[in-house]
């Protein structure tokens, strides 16, 4: 006759997990604090293709504006403010929907004038434009 010796059942020991949440949240806070948010605001400028053929524009559809070395906007040798220029451009487009704005910028002009003008043209939905630099 055999005697069964039963082992006493041990209760399962609990591993305390409540602190893992604290650790994970601390890690999140560290991660958030040590990373920086990159946000860019800007003006989009579509670039032509490298081998794109030159645009053929009828002479009567060209509307020229210049930015001189002091960052002033000129049309027909007359200086206009940014607001005035936009009014002229809007009128011109209304008169001739096929108009192409040809912008020539002086090499020494402050570059900030370009995104300013581009942004205003984008707001006015003037999409037909060409931009280049005046010869030195």
């Amino acid at each position: 006759m055999s005697v069964k010796i039963r082992k006493k059942r041990r209760d399962m020991e609990d591993i305390p997990l409540s602190s893992t949440a604290d650790i994970a949240f601390l890690l999140i806070v560290f991660y958030l604090a040590s990373s920086s948010l990159l946000e860019f605001r800007g003006v989009s400028l579509p670039l032509p293709k490298k081998d794109a053929p030159p645009m053929e524009i009828l002479k009567e559809n060209i509307f020229r504006i210049f930015i001189n070395e002091n960052g002033l906007i000129l049309h027909n040798k007359q200086v206009y403010s940014l607001g005035e220029t936009m009014e002229i451009l809007k009128k011109e487009r209304k008169k001739n929907p096929e108009v192409v704005i040809v912008l020539k910028v002086n090499p020494n002009a402050p570059s900030q004038m370009v995104p300013k003008l581009l942004r205003e043209m984008q707001k006015a939905k003037i999409e037909k434009f060409s931009m280049g630099m005046e010869k030195k």
Partner: protein, 145 residues
């Protein structure tokens, strides 16, 4: 005296799932953030009211006075001459897992000829779109937008 009140056991709030939630949040945060090794340059950008144009893979070209004098740009912690910019940009773009966006951070008073040189280099490299980064203009209190 005999107390008739039953002794209630203290209510235990199960906290074990909190750890899972927190770790899930952390994994989401880590998966959605982008780690870049490019140290930025602090520049005074043109003040223009413009829209947010963020990208998961930004290629940022910095052009300040010091670099423009040497006819070079600052790109991924290196000084790159205008003549090599297109090649370097294409190398970086090929490493990115999805489409990249090219940003030009140009100091507001840099002469336009430098901007044109960068535009020409990007155009020759086949970049279709460039974003000229700006900063929002200061708002004057009481002024209508």
């Amino acid at each position: 005296m005999i107390s008739l009140r039953k002794k209630r056991k203290p209510i235990a709030i199960p906290m074990s799932s909190m750890g899972d939630i927190a770790f899930l949040l952390m994994i989401f945060y880590m998966a959605t953030t982008l780690v870049t090794d490019q140290k930025p340059l602090e520049l005074i950008l043109p003040k223009v009211e413009s829209e947010s144009m963020s990208s998961p893979y930004p290629l940022i070209i910095y052009l300040d006075k010091k670099h423009s004098e040497n006819r070079s740009v600052y790109f991924f912690n290196q000084d790159i001459p205008y003549s090599q910019l297109g090649e370097v940009i294409l190398d970086r773009a090929s490493e990115a897992p999805s489409a990249v966006r090219v940003y030009l951070n140009i100091e507001k008073d840099i002469p336009y000829e430098h901007m044109q040189e960068v535009i020409n280099a990007l155009k020759d490299a086949g970049i279709a779109n460039l974003i000229i980064t700006t900063q929002p203009p200061e708002k004057i209190p009481g002024q209508k937008q």
